[in-house]
C-alpha cells in the first residue's frame, strides 16, 4: 500500500487534497477521519467523502499504526445525495 502513495497524489478529488496534506493534518493532531476533514477539507466536497474516505482511513492507519476501527468515519448526515433546497423544502413528489 505505502509504496504506491506519493505525497503529491490527490486523495479527495472534490477538494483536491493530496496524500501529503493529509499526512500534515495527522502531524497536527488529527487522529480520525473527522479530524483530517476539519484540518484540510478532505471529504468536505460534493461527494462528502464517498470516494476518498476509505483512502483517508488507510493513510490514518498507516501513519498512526492503528486498526481501521480506531480511525472512525465521517458522521452520517442527510441528504444521502445532493438535492436542491426547493426539493428539500417541498418534500418528494412522486
Amino acid at each position: 500500500m505505502e509504496e504506491f502513495l506519493t505525497d503529491d497524489m490527490i486523495v479527495c478529488r472534490c477538494e483536491e487534497i493530496t496524500v501529503g496534506e493529509i499526512k500534515e493534518a495527522i502531524k497536527q493532531g488529527a487522529k480520525d477521519v473527522i479530524g483530517v476533514k476539519r484540518r484540510v477539507r478532505a471529504g468536505m466536497g460534493l461527494c462528502q467523502g464517498r470516494t476518498c474516505e476509505k483512502m483517508v482511513q488507510q493513510i490514518l492507519c498507516q501513519e498512526l499504526g492503528v486498526a481501521p476501527s480506531e480511525v472512525g468515519s465521517s458522521s452520517p448526515r442527510p441528504p444521502v445525495r445532493p438535492i436542491s433546497f426547493g426539493e428539500l423544502a417541498r418534500g418528494v413528489v412522486e
Binding site: G29, L46, Q48, P79, P82, G86, L88
Partner: protein, 394 residues
C-alpha cells in the same frame, strides 16, 4: 507527575483562547480535551461575529472589542483562521420589523456604532439575488460584522499557544478533580491518559458539557444544550455578498422580543430564523433555528424543510441550488443569555468560562483575555461582574 500552573478543560473556541492567553501571560499551561480540538460546538456552528445581534450597552461594547481583537490576531497569527470582514444585513420582511430595527439602530448609533437602515431599492443593489419585496434591512459595516472559520480559530489558538509553551492533551478524560481537605482548593486532576496532573488552578471551559465537569466537584453549573441546525450548499457563485439574517432572528435568540411574523406553522413550530453566508470555499451555509433536544444533534427532517422554506422566501434562487450536507450542534444555553466568566467562591483556584450560547465564536478572543487578566489578579479590561457565577449560587 506532570505539574502545571493552570489546566484548561475543553478545547473549543473558549478553551483554546483561554489557554493561549494564559500561556501568553507566561503561565505553564495545559489544555485537556475529551475529544479532538473543536470537537463539540465549535465545529457545529456558523462563522460570524456581529455587534448587531447584541443588546445595546455592554453586550455590544464587548462584542465590538472582540471583533476588533480578531483583526489584531489575524495580523499577529501565522495560522490562517479565515478572517473575513464581510459586513451584515439584517433583513426586515415587513414594515413593523423595519421600524423595530430602526429603533434598535438609533440606540446603537447613539452609542457611536456605525449602523444604518437601507430601503428595498438599495438592499437589492447590495444583494442582487435577494427577494425584491422586502421592507429593507439594517446594515452593519465590516468593522462590526466579520466571519472566521470557527474550528480554525481553535486550531490557531492551539498552534500559536504551543509556540508559547502550551501543552495540549486531546482524547483525554478527567476522572477526578482533587481538592484540599482543609481549604477546598484545587490540588490536582486525575486523567486517563496523563495520570495525575498537579495544578492549583483549573478553568472549566467545557461549554455545554461544563455541568458534567462541574459535577466532579459538586458544582451545579446551570448550562443546557440548545440545538442549532445548518445546511451546506454545493460550491456555487456567491449568492450573497454579506452575512444575511432575518430580523426575526432576534426573536429566537431573545425570547423577550416578539414579532409576529407571517410564516407557515412549520416555520413557527421549528423556531426558524433565516440566515445565510458564504464560506471561503464558496459553499453557502443556510440556517437556522434553536431547539431544546438534549445532546441529540441528529439532523431533523422537519427542521431542514422549514429552514429551506424560509430561505427560499428571502433568496428565491436557492430553489435550484443543491444542498450537500446538513449538520446540527448544541450551543451552551444560560437562562439569562449571559455567559459565566468567573472564579468560584467555594473552590479556590477554580474558574469557569462557559455558557456563551451562540456567541462563543464572537466572544472567544475577548473571553480569553479577560480570564487571563482575572487569573493573574490584574484588573479586567471590562467590568465582567455581571458574568459572575455567584449570580446562580446566591
Amino acid at each position: 507527575m506532570k505539574e502545571f500552573d493552570i489546566v484548561v478543560i475543553g478545547a473549543g473556541a473558549i478553551g483554546t483562547s483561554v489557554a493561549y492567553h494564559l500561556a501568553l501571560k507566561g503561565l505553564k499551561t495545559a489544555l485537556i480535551e475529551k475529544g479532538d480540538i473543536a470537537h463539540g460546538s465549535s465545529s457545529h456552528c456558523d462563522a460570524v461575529s456581529l455587534i448587531c445581534d447584541k443588546l445595546p450597552g455592554i453586550d455590544t461594547a464587548m462584542g465590538q472589542a472582540s471583533i476588533d481583537y480578531y483583526g489584531e490576531l489575524d495580523k499577529k497569527f501565522n495560522y490562517d483562521f479565515e478572517y473575513d470582514p464581510k459586513g451584515c444585513l439584517y433583513v426586515c420582511e415587513t414594515e413593523p420589523e423595519f421600524e423595530a430595527a430602526s429603533e434598535y439602530m438609533e440606540r446603537q448609533r447613539a452609542d457611536g456604532y456605525d449602523l444604518r437602515m437601507v430601503r428595498s431599492e438599495e438592499l437589492c443593489k447590495m444583494e442582487p439575488h435577494i427577494a425584491n419585496d422586502l421592507a429593507g434591512a439594517l446594515y452593519t459595516p465590516p468593522s462590526g460584522a466579520i466571519a472566521v472559520s470557527p474550528y480554525k480559530v481553535c486550531y490557531a489558538f492551539v498552534e500559536e499557544g504551543k509556540k508559547l509553551g502550551l501543552e495540549v492533551f486531546t482524547y483525554t478524560n478527567i476522572n477526578k478533580i482533587n481538592l484540599d481537605e482543609k481549604t477546598n482548593a484545587v490540588v490536582s486532576i486525575d486523567t486517563d491518559t496523563q495520570g495525575t496532573i498537579k495544578t492549583r488552578r483549573i478553568v472549566n471551559c467545557a461549554g455545554a458539557w461544563a455541568p458534567e465537569v462541574g459535577k466532579l466537584t459538586g458544582l451545579n453549573i446551570p448550562i443546557s444544550p440548545r440545538k442549532g441546525t445548518n445546511l451546506v450548499s454545493e460550491q456555487t457563485e456567491r449568492l450573497c455578498n454579506h452575512k444575511i439574517l432575518e430580523y426575526g432572528y432576534m426573536m429566537s435568540k431573545f425570547d423577550s422580543i416578539h414579532f409576529k411574523r407571517k410564516v407557515s406553522p412549520l416555520v413557527e413550530k421549528q423556531n426558524i430564523a433565516f440566515n445565510l453566508e458564504y464560506t471561503k470555499a464558496n459553499n453557502l451555509l443556510v440556517g437556522g433555528n434553536r431547539l431544546f433536544r438534549g445532546f441529540d444533534i441528529r439532523s431533523e427532517i422537519e427542521t431542514l424543510k422549514a429552514i429551506c422554506e424560509r430561505a427560499i422566501r428571502f433568496y428565491p434562487e436557492l430553489e435550484d441550488i443543491k444542498c450537500i450536507r446538513t449538520y446540527a450542534g448544541v450551543r451552551p444555553f444560560v437562562i439569562d443569555h449571559l455567559p459565566i466568566v468567573s472564579d468560584v467562591d467555594s473552590i479556590p483556584g477554580y474558574y469557569i468560562a462557559a455558557g456563551h450560547e451562540g456567541d462563543g465564536i464572537c466572544f472567544s478572543p475577548f473571553t480569553g483575555k479577560q480570564v487571563a487578566q482575572m487569573v493573574m489578579g490584574e484588573g479586567t479590561d471590562f467590568d465582567i461582574s455581571r458574568l459572575d457565577f455567584a449570580r446562580f449560587t446566591k
